[in-house]
Amino acid sequence: MIPIPGWLIGLATFPGVIVHEAGHLLLCRAFKLAVFDVCFFRLGNPAGYVIHENTDDFNTIFFVSMGPFFANSLLCILFCSAAFLPVWELEVRDPLAWFFYWLGLSIGMHAFPSTDDLKHIWKLAPSNAGRGNVLAIVSFPIVAVLYVLNFARFFWADLGYGIAIGILAPLGTFKALV
């Protein structure tokens, strides 16, 4: 393992942190949750945060916690889709394409929700699933995988996730279209 300080990783991939926290804030506002404090980016751990009111409404907590995960993943796929062909397949020396690829990977790398967010969903999921909430049922495998991946961040799981969706998703889309 290469020991790279967290602040350096945060600095190198700061757009992802900002997009993630902006997503949290947007969803807190959309679901009318009180926001007590926000940090969009800093050189520390965590690199950004949104401290918001908790709620027992599963759908609200699901979207507020998982929204940035889906938004970051989607943006990562879109940016990488535009850049993966020149970077990986066509061997083009195009700085703009590399810039878009970096932007996509940075955003994808910060897709994971925090462990606290996942814990909250995990706590509310069983009772809501029992009441037939489809979102709660669907959340079980997603949260379980993300929970494990969150711990695997030490092994660059977040970067691995960014690269995986930054290559596999565009590649799959491209193959399907051609």
Partner: protein, 353 residues
Amino acid sequence: MLQGKCEQCGATGFVALFMGVDGRLLCQRCTEQVVEQAKAQRASVEIVSIIDPTVCYQCKTDYGSTELPVVGGLPFCARCTPDLYARPFPPWLRLSLAGLLILLGVALIHGARYFKAGKALVLGERLVAARQYEPAIPQLQAALAIAPDCEKAILLLAKADLLTGRYEEGHKTLIGHRGGRFEEGPLTTDVKQTYDRVANGLEKLGEARKLFQADKNIEASRAIHIAAALLPEDPALAGAVEVVDGAAAFDRKDYDGFLAIAEKAWKNHPQSPDFAGTLASALACKYAVTGDPTLRTRAEEMLEKGRQLAASSPEAMQGYKEYEERIRYRLKSRQIIDRREYDRRFRPEKSKP
């Protein structure tokens, strides 16, 4: 602001300045003592800050003894509460997010040309895999127009060029990229093998050409067969093999073999005045040997066909006239002599070196 009493030393003060230590309300001094003791004993201690419900958590305004409504477990005054639900996006963030969306648009537009190149590369690769080299070439050229350093496209194009007889283009395509150096891989190995095979084939073909020009037709036939085996995809080579084989059979005086080859060549190239002439020549040879008049008639028919076919081009007509004269002599005299001998006897101006 609420007053509190330390559960350890009994000191009183504002509750906001107290701490909750393992469930007890302690002043700051006692909290520090407990923490020091816990450190010494290597024990853990749970410390929580005490929130005064009469002081707004946001603006810190003291509302005396009036407890404020709680939002998320924290007291907020009526003035601050609405802000919690409408936390503004800083202008720089709004600008950044707008910029990000613009960048996304730019990225997608910028990537469209690469999508076209990537699509052309994939289609070209599929066509090469299906051995459809001709239609693969424009696809791969389109990919290289956008991505000129793409090794995969270069190698595939070179392969398609080599396997369609465009040897010069294939060679230029390969050499044009870093002097012909490529990253090792199955495709590189495959193209290198194809290139080496083609190079050997061309060398052998050159040898066959020299031998044929020197009227060493039997040796030329041997060499051109090796070249044809090395260059099976060359569409022009099959005709050349027939010409050389026919000449070799003539040299061996194997007129049956010569006729069989000439018949086959004529069947394969029914629009060629040269192959009409070759068949006429073979029939004339057989007539000269057997005296069978049907062979003479057929030879004359083939000469007439050759004349008709050559009429469209002055160059072809010139070739036709050259062989017509010799074949008519063969039919008339029933003497079989090759062109060199004929020129020596009747066309001395042509036999000069």
